[in-house]
């Protein structure tokens, strides 16, 4: 079981890396006119927004196939406030972790 999980992780690591490099190299090797269609460019700007927003939601409230409210919500509230105050990225992440950890210890 442990071994099967490790190989899943390695497949993910190597598969992601292979495709990531393939995409970069492809870009350097084809003429710019491909993919410079306005619709493709528009959708390409929006894809990270959709995926990253979904990751925020699932990583904040998800617990396997359930949605839960726990210490992470406190951490994320701090992250939102930090971003609204235009705090730099490390402050956002560390502030969120600190708030979540304090809540975890206080409630747990």
């Amino acid at each position: 079981m442990e071994g099967a999980l490790m190989s899943q992780l390695w497949i993910a690591v190597l598969g992601t890396s292979l495709i990531a490099f393939g995409l970069k190299y492809f870009g350097h090797s084809v003429p710019e006119k491909y993919l410079s269609n306005p619709r493709v460019l528009r959708i390409n700007t929006l894809i990270p927004i959709a995926l990253l927003s979904a990751l925020v939601a699932v990583q904040t409230f998800g617990d396997k196939s359930k949605l839960v409210i726990d210490q992470r919500v406190v951490g994320m509230s701090v992250a939102v406030i930090a971003l609204m105050l235009k705090a730099p990225f490390p402050v956002v992440v560390i502030g969120s972790a600190a708030a979540s950890a304090l809540t975890f210890h206080y409630l747990g």
Binding site: L5, H28, L46, L51, S53, R72, V92
Partner: protein, 228 residues
């Protein structure tokens, strides 16, 4: 590189911009290193992602999806959708860099948001400065990102239970920090809300990872028509 970079010929403004971007972005590597360990990846696997994938959002996505119990396939698919933009950057950079052979391999690997951004930011200083900005930033981020990944991963290994140190909130906070600056108009904000709602709605019913990658369809729907 092709234009024969010597220290005396490197534009100072470009070098300063490249270094500050490299160091600042490299620091995020700490958050990634910690996220990899917290998601159950080994030290070697976490470092391999920074060395080989070398694209922040894709790396966070693959550890996020697998950490939540998603399959390797959905992790790879999510990370790869996030990596499409690097192909577009490569297409933009290729006519500027004019590189072949092993230089193209290296140039491709360091084609990311930051190297492209700094290169384009030097356009007023001319093409040599743009090329310098690309290489200095690409290689600079590569070095700092990988060094700080190790720091973050070792730190997280020493910590034990991720929740006790708030790492379980640090990962979504990192995603939020990545998406926040991209929300520049109402369509983008509406898409962010819709993507969160769809992923919530699907979470109880489908395998982990699917609720995330499904939202790419929302991006297609939202981007299909030009803004009226």
């Amino acid at each position: 590189m092709r234009q024969n970079v010597r220290v005396s010929t490197v534009n100072r403004t470009t070098a300063a911009a490249s270094f500050s971007v490299s160091f600042t972005v490299g620091l995020y590597g700490i958050a990634f290193g910690a996220a990899g360990i917290a998601a159950g990846f080994s030290l070697i696997q976490t470092c391999a992602l920074s060395l080989l994938t070398f694209s922040g959002a894709s790396q966070f996505a693959v550890v996020g999806v697998l950490g939540a119990g998603g399959s390797a396939i959905s992790g790879i698919a999510t990370a790869s959708l996030l990596g499409i933009r690097n192909a577009l950057y490569g297409m933009r950079m290729a006519p500027l860099l004019k590189i072949r052979g092993w230089k193209r391999l290296v140039g491709a690997q360091v084609t990311i948001d930051e190297s492209t951004g700094v290169a384009l930011g030097q356009s007023e200083l001319g093409e040599p400065a743009m090329r310098q900005g690309f290489w200095l930033t690409g290689i600079g981020v590569y070095i700092f990102w990988n060094l700080f990944t190790i720091v973050g991963a070792l730190g997280a290994q020493a910590m034990g239970d991720p929740a006790a140190w708030g790492l379980d909130a640090a990962v979504p906070a990192a995603f939020l920090g990545l998406v926040w600056p991209r929300l520049t108009n109402n369509r983008e904000r509406a898409l962010a809300v819709a993507a969160m709602a769809l992923s919530f709605g699907l979470t109880p019913f489908v395998a982990a990872g699917i609720p995330i990658i499904s939202t790419a369809l929302l991006a297609v729907a939202f981007g299909w028509k030009a803004r009226s």
